[in-house]
Every structure is written in structure tokens, then in C-alpha cells.
Symmetry: C2
Subunit: 114 residues, 2 copies
């Protein structure tokens, strides 16, 4: 059993095209022996965003803190602390921090997309 | 894309043997078309607990609020808001609310264990 907290997890900038002021951590993943899926965490500073893209792996998201928008294709939808979001496989999406606080979200994905 | 919050999700008592004052919700799961894994949420009232059991599906957990213990076999380990916990396949475990606040945790599992 592993118990950890974000402050103990390595934090690296998201370098994918279209990302801005976004950082990635993996509190539970393949390195821990998780056999099917992983919990990543993204931290997005005000004005920042994740890439606007699609892929065949789904996202199961939970907003730990902050607020902003998730793009559903080209349509922005409001998100805030406490929201759960399901991004289906192949759906184009992007998380944007349009608030003044840091946006922190869990992004669980199949292991192959970790 | 689905966006939801706990207050919009049906909440049912956990009826498994050994559960006490524990409730289950499924903000993202098979009913939403999630193809590989699901996010369930357990709410455990003070003095309550989930079953002390093991199974071949892993848990990827995040503590949304509250505090308590997770049993690693027969060993209690402290948990609190903000902790991430990986319960490997076949590891015997139980969540116990030993605090005074309600304990709320995400419990992500493979679809077959939803």
C-alpha cells in the first residue's frame, strides 16, 4: 500500500504543444505497480491551459481546487472545485484556468496513456 | 462529456458485510460509458467504516475531506484530506473514520469492480 501527498510527488512542466503554465504529477501510477490505470494531477496557473487535443484514452477528472473551463470541442463549460468530469475517448478537450486561483485537478487515465 | 457534482449523484448505503455508516456514489462509471475504470465516492460517518476485505481489483483512492485510518492488513495507517492511497490487488484493507468530521474519498476501480 502506498500513501502519498502532492507535496511528495515530482512536478514537471507539461511540454506538449499547446500547454501553458501547466504542471504534471503522478501520485499513483505504473511505477507503483498500478496494473490498469493511473492517477495523474495537473496544476494549471491562472491564464494557463492544458493542450487542446483528443486521443483514444478517456479521462476521469476531479477538480481538487480552483475554477476555470473545460473545452468540449470548441464549447467552453464552466468547472470548479468539486466537479467530476468524464472526457470520453476521442473527445477533443482542454482545461483552462480562467480564475485567479491555481487550478488543480486529478486526471485518471488507462496505464498506456500515463 | 459529463460534468457532475456529488450532490447530483444517487447515494446508497454500503450493504456489504462489515460496512457501517458508509455510503456509495458513482459520479463517473459504466452508465456514463466509461470504458475501463470508474470513480466511486464513499462517504463514511464518524465511527463508521468500509468492509475489511480483499479482492483482485485494485483501488486508487483520494481523500476529499476528513481523516481516519486505512487498514493495511491488520495495521492501521493514518489518512487525511489530500492523501492519495494505492491499494494493490488482493491487499486486505478497510477505511475507518476515526475523526469527528465526515470522511469522503474517491475510490477508482476497474469497471468490473464498479
Amino acid at each position: 500500500m502506498k500513501i502519498t501527498r502532492l507535496e511528495n510527488c515530482e512536478k514537471t512542466p507539461v511540454t506538449a504543444d499547446g500547454a501553458l503554465k501547466a504542471f504534471r504529477q503522478v501520485p499513483i501510477g505504473k511505477a507503483d505497480g498500478a496494473p490498469n490505470f493511473s492517477m495523474r494531477v495537473f496544476t494549471v496557473e491562472p491564464g494557463g491551459h492544458t493542450p487542446h487535443h483528443s486521443h483514444d484514452s478517456e479521462h476521469l477528472n476531479y477538480i481538487i481546487s480552483g475554477s476555470g473551463e473545460v473545452m468540449e470541442g470548441d464549447t467552453p463549460r464552466k468547472i470548479r472545485q468539486g466537479d467530476f468530469i468524464f472526457v470520453p475517448p476521442s473527445a477533443r478537450h482542454q482545461y483552462r484556468n480562467t480564475g485567479e486561483e491555481t487550478l488543480v485537478l486529478i486526471c485518471a487515465v488507462p496505464s498506456k496513456y500515463e
